[in-house]
Symmetry: none
Amino acid sequence: RIMRPDDANIAGNVHGGTILKMIEEAGAIISTRHCNSQEGEACVAALARVERTDFLSPMCIGEVANVSAEITYTSRHSVEVQVNVMSENILTGAKKLTNKATLWYVPLSLKNVNKVLEVPPIQYARKEQEDEGKKRYEEQKLDRLETKQRNGDVMLPVINPEPHTVGYSQSSLIHLVGPSDCTLLGFVHGGVTMKLMDEVAGIVAARHCKTNIVTASVDAINFHEKIKKGCVITVSGRMTFTSNKSMEIEVFVDADPFVDEPRERYRAVSAFFTYVSLSKEGKPLPVPQLLTETEDEKRRFEEGKGRYLQTKAKRQAQMQQAAQ
Amino acid sequence: RIMRPDDANIAGNVHGGTILKMIEEAGAIISTRHCNSQEGEACVAALARVERTDFLSPMCIGEVANVSAEITYTSRHSVEVQVNVMSENILTGAKKLTNKATLWYVPLSLKNVNKVLEVPPIQYARKEQEDEGKKRYEEQKLDRLETKQRNGDVMLPVINPEPHTVGYSQSSLIHLVGPSDCTLLGFVHGGVTMKLMDEVAGIVAARHCKTNIVTASVDAINFHEKIKKGCVITVSGRMTFTSNKSMEIEVFVDADPFVDEPRERYRAVSAFFTYVSLSKEGKPLPVPQLLTETEDEKRRFEEGKGRYLQTKAKRQAQMQQAAQ
Amino acid sequence: RIMRPDDANIAGNVHGGTILKMIEEAGAIISTRHCNSQEGEACVAALARVERTDFLSPMCIGEVANVSAEITYTSRHSVEVQVNVMSENILTGAKKLTNKATLWYVPLSLKNVNKVLEVPPIQYARKEQEDEGKKRYEEQKLDRLETKQRNGDVMLPVINPEPHTVGYSQSSLIHLVGPSDCTLLGFVHGGVTMKLMDEVAGIVAARHCKTNIVTASVDAINFHEKIKKGCVITVSGRMTFTSNKSMEIEVFVDADPFVDEPRERYRAVSAFFTYVSLSKEGKPLPVPQLLTETEDEKRRFEEGKGRYLQTKAKRQAQMQQAAQ
C-alpha cells in the first residue's frame, strides 16, 4: 500500500511502527490461513514473538510498501513466518529492502480462546531446513522464559528532571482498545501494540535529542499476555543507553481491564527499541550522552551497553563471513 | 467534510477512491432511510451496482466536499440513487462539480441477510421519469448478468517483467476486513471496497507511467457477492488498455473467508478504472503505450479499445446534442 | 455520517469526543467560508472557544449524525456559530437532539498566522438578536481572561494511590501531531484536541467507577494557544468532584514543540468534563465518592461542587421558566 502523510514523521520518514504493523498483519493472515487449512476446529493465529529486526533503509511518503510472507517452520503448536518488506518508489521504479522480520504465531481456538490448537506440519525442501528451524524454535523458547522474569519492572515518574537524564525524556501514553485494534477473538493485534510502542519510543528519543529520529532496530519482543477489547493500555518508555550515534529505549505495555473484570493491571509486553538521529540530509548525527543518576539507571546503562556491543560484534562477524 | 492530507496523493489531489467512498455512504444512508420508511421488517440497503462515473475536476486538500443524494427510481426490490459531489474552496468561495454518480441498492432484512425486502415506491413528478427509470433499470439488469460471467478470470504473477508490459505494473494488496469497514449487517460497505480498488488501480497506473496520476472515470461496478467481517480480501489490478492520454486498469476483488467458514476464496467484485497522467501544472501528459505479449493481453487490449471508442462516441454525441 | 464501531465504546455509545470533533469541523467550515466572503486577504477560522454543552441523549453505532451550523453573531474579530447535532436512526426514522453547541472562531491570515483579520458583519433579522449576541460576546470575553490565569496549574504524578483517590484515576496520554490533525495553517484543529481531551477524561472516569461511562457535558473551553504540526501534546486528566451520580474531570493539554523550536512546553487548553456512569440498561448508576487528600484536592472539590450547584440551579430556573 502507498505510504501516507499520517504514516510518517514531519521529515517524511515512515514510522517504524507503521512498518511493524504491516508486517504483523501479513504474518497473522498467512499463519491463520495455514492453521485452518486442515479439517478441524477453526482458529485465529495470535502473535507470540517477533525476532530482532533491523530497519535497513528509511521509507518515505508516496512510496509503495511491498510485503511478502512465507511460513518457514512449524512446531506442534507454533508457526514461524518470515516477512520481507520492500519499499518501491513508483515514480523511479527503485526498490530497496526495508526490513526482514521473523514472527512466531500460535493458533487459538475460535470457540475457546484459551485452547491452543495443533499446527498442520509443512513440507521442507531439505532436511537441514527443518533442523535449522527446530534450532531457532528452541532458542526463542529459552529467550521467552527469560523475559517473563524481567517483566516485573516498573517505571516511576520523576518531578522536574534535568536535561538528558532518564527522567527528562521518559514518556507514556494511554490508549483505550477499540474494535479496529482487535482480531476476531477480541484481542489486540500484536501489530497495533508494536505501533504504539514505537510511537512512545520515538517520542522518548526525540525528547532526548530534539532532532528528527528514526527507528534503527527492534529487539526480540515476546507477547506473554493477551490484551482484551475495552482494556486501557498504558505504554511507557525510558531511555536505557546511548552510544555515540544511537539510543536504546525500553518500552513497557501494561493492560488494565478496568470494566467488568476482576483482574488487576498486568504487564503484557516489553521490548527494546534502538533509534538514530538524522540530519536534514539524512546523515546520522551524534547523540547527547544519557545522564544516569540512580543505581538502577547505571545498571540498565551497562546492560544496554552489553547488548549494543554484542549486536556490533555479531554484525562484524556476519560482514567478515560475507566478505570471505 | 474538509479534505485532509491522507485523502490525497503527494501532488495534493484527492484520491478518486475517497470520493467514491463518500458517494456510497450518502447513497447507503438515503436508501436505507427510504426502505425503512414504511411499517414492516427493518432492513439495511446494500450496494448492488454503481453506474459509470466521470471525475470532472480534481479536488484538493483543504477543500470542502458537499455531497447530495436523491432517490430517482424504485423497482420492486431496488432503489436508484443519484449522488452529486461539489468541491468548494471555502477561501475563494469557488464551487465545482466533481462528479455525479448513479448507484443501485437492494434492501436486505436485518434479521435474515439473505432475504431481499420490498421497496416502498416513490412518487414521480412526471410519467416520463418513471419510464426512463424503468429503462435504466432494465439496462443495468442485463449488464449485471454479463459481468457475472466474466468473473472467473485470474491474475497470475510475472517474474522479471519488461517495462510497460502488463506484468510490469500489475499490483495487488491484501486487507483484513475490520469492524469499521462493515455495515450493521456485518458486511463490507461497497464504498470501502471501491476505495481499495482505486488504491490498487492508482498504483498500477503510477508504476506504468511514473508520473502523478488521477482517476478520470470508473466503469459500472457490480457487487455480486457480499464480503463478511473477518475475511481477507485481495485486490489485484492490471492494465488492459492505453490510449494516447489515458490508461484503463481492470481490478478484481477476491474474498477469502479463511476462518470458521467452509467456503472457498471467491471473486466478489471486478471493475475498470481509467486514469490520466498529469504534469505539475495539472495538464494531461502522453502515456507510454502498453506492450501486450500474450493472446489474452491482446484480446483485452482490443476490448478496452472498444470501450474507449464507445465512450468517446457517446461523449461526442452528448456534446453535439448540447450544442444544438 | 454513519457512526462506526471505532466511534463508540464497547457498550455502543458514541464517544462525546467524536461528536465534539464533528461539531468543530462544521463550525470551522461555516466560519472560514463567511470570513472569506468579502474581497481581501484569505484566512482560516481558528477555534477560540466552545461554550458549555450538554449531551442530551447518547448516540449509537449505526445511527446517522446530522450536523447543522449557523452564524449567530459577529464582532469585529470573531464569529459566533451555533451547531446542532441530531442523531437519526435510519431504520426506525427516529430523530433525537444530541446536543447544541456554541463556538467562537477568529479569522487568521493565511499569509501571516499571527495576524487577526476583520470579520464581515452579518445582518440580523431583529435588533434584539444583535444586542443579545453582543451580551454573549462580552460575557465570554470576561471568562476567557479568567481561565488564562488558572492555566498555570500542574498535575503531579502519584505513586501507589488508594482506590477512589484523585491519584488513583488520574491519567495522561501523549500524541504526536500529524498532518491530518491540522488545518491549512499547520495548526491542530480544535476538534482534534477536544477528542483527545474527551478520551483522557473518559479513561479517568472509567478508572474511578469501573463501569460504562458517557460524557454528560463539557464546560466552556478556551483555546488560548495554537499547537503546531510536529509538536508532542500531553493530555492529562484528574477527577475534581463527584456528586451522587456524576463525576467532574479537569483536563489539561500541554504542547511541546520539541523539534527545531526555541520554545518551552506550554499549556494550550484546559477544561472540565462531566461524566455519568450507566448500567447495561442505560440507567444512571451511583458513583463512588472521590476521596480528597491534599489541601489543593479539597479546594478543587469545593470549587467543583460550586460549579455543580450553579449548573443545577440554572437548569431548574430554565425548567420553571419553560413551565410558565
